[in-house]
Amino acid sequence: MKPSHPASDPRQLLEQMLLIRAYEESIVSGSAAGKMPGTCTSVGQEAAAVGVVNALAADDLILTNHRSAGHLLARGADPGRLLAEVMGRRDGYCKGRSGSLHISAKELGVVLTSTIVGAELSMAPGVALSQTMLGRPGIVVCFFGDGAACEGSFHESLNLAALWNLPILYVCENNQWQAFVHRREAMSREHVADWAAAYSIPARTVEGNDVFAVLAAAQAAAAEVRDSRRPYLLETCTYRTRGHLEPDDQGYVDQAELAAWLARDPIAACRNRLLANGSLTPAQAAALADRVSTRIAVAQAFAEASPFPAAEELCRDVYA
């Protein structure tokens, strides 16, 4: 499977977001039913993922983290193989060795996913160095959160990328939460983008729940990286509306803040806008929803039918 072409139709953006939401909700319910392990979802952050990934070219490379479902699905990953991976099955993208938290899919250009917060930032300069030294045109996109931005690797990565002129689009998905700690308790600044200036890296923030705004900002940012062959930082301001790791009762969450962000749900906002401007009819909206639920049902059936890895695979692929 190759990376999917960027969406040319705004309805495709909506459909991708619906797919991501349905996919993650299927893991939440599967986990609650004891059929799957718990996971870290990106529910509420779909626009931030879809907007950026649809601004990329097929030869761009992506590094991501434990909240990667949106990046993978927007890039064209097969939800069946993703769910198989989550369930530890042989047909998963990583043969069941990753689980949900570190799925890489080289064929899609989604390389080197780590759940160690900040590790994606530490590896991104090397991937960009390969692109540069081996004469490859693709840029490198590194997705991380506000939590990772508080790791030393963020600062070391930006410094080196600026110093060595590395074509990296850093995308901080500022979802306001660093595991169980609110971003306000952990960051000396309001925005991660503020820190980029210290490394002479251009940066901007964008409303992360508006998929069209994210897409436009990411297209401009990616074009700048492509032209300058230098780093750029885009901060998408969004909100993690579910807990850190399922199941999570979110007892630590300010309910007023959560309610305010739920009212800005990226999927509802996109759907309402398309309905209001006539790009989408209610019947088409219903058809999109049906198509997505069918895909997830098919994906679940595929994953459940996939066998577990054989015991002989325990020590395979440790060494090259």
């Binding site: 490379l61 590094l63 998963g92 993208y93 990583c94 043969k95 069941g96 060795r97 990753s98 570190h102 890489s104 899919a105 080289k106 390389v111 080197l112 996913t113 780590s114 160690i116 900040g118 590790a119 930032l121 530490s122 590896m123 991104a124 300069p125 090397g126 991937v127 960009a128 160095l129 390969s130 692109q131 030294m133 081996l134 030393g152 690797s153 070391e156 990565s157 410094n159 080196l160 110093l163 060595w164 395979r316 692929d317 440790v318 060494y319 090259a320």
Partner: protein
Amino acid sequence: MPTLTLYDAVGAALTEEMRRDSSVIAFGEGIATKRRELVDEFGGLRVRNTPLAEGIIAGTAVGAAATGLRPVVDLLFAPFLCYAMDELVNSAGKLRYMSGGQFSFPLVTLAMTGAGWGVGAQHNHNVEAWFVHSPGLKVVMPSTPADAKALLKSAIRDDNPVLFFLDIGLLYQPGEVPADEQTLPLGRATVLRNGQDVTLVSYGKTVQHCQQAAETLAGQGIAAEVIDLRSLKPLDEAAILTSVGKTGRLVVVHEANRLCGIGAEIAALVAEQAFSSLKAPIVRLGGPDAPIAASYPLEQASVPQAATIAAAAARLCAAQPA
């Protein structure tokens, strides 16, 4: 045969491999300053100085290795590897397996360690066992310039991450190095001296101490076999078992802390697989469970010396089998 120091042998290996394969690059803390000849020949893009930031140096090597380059990174002193543990252990060591074999990580990490310069515990800490204990990594620690060159060439060609430790005490000792482009397979020990009575297994600078001890023992009528492991992972188990099968007595010697060190693994290996050959208990000689002092006499006291090794081996040979 040309004579080189171990430090220059490393440079010779880098030069040959960078000539041979344009995907080999080298970067790290001062490497472009100290190895100017590499910059002159291969240019400032393939040979780069870096910030003093071990985490990003190692992480950059991991990312580059996964996507088509073969980086060699110089992190200077082994204790600095603590700053690079996530990148080396969690990324380089695990992401091949965790991705279902989608990626490989052909990278070499150079780090100096060991007694000799009185640099103290934050520059001298033999941490090689940490990496042996971490899956996905290979670990090499040569004791001669010739081995350093041939093993580094193999490490660079290997598709796995290799931790390549340079013993500070050996760094500027000269040794003969073959002029041809010889490589040595990782994971193969060498028998430096044949003997029937006791096996001395070591790596790094204590190999020389074992050879000195073997001379002393020969004067007492005891024939010691001396094995230089050279690689700690893969470990040449066959070489150890073959020798112990012959001698029935084993002394494992290393500078690193004895506690959970390589010697413990080798002792367990022999106890499990060659117990019936043993004529005496296995002896492990290693450093104490203490940071290494800067003061020269204390630093030297942390390293098993030839007299200690000879005395331990002689005691084993004097003991009667039960």
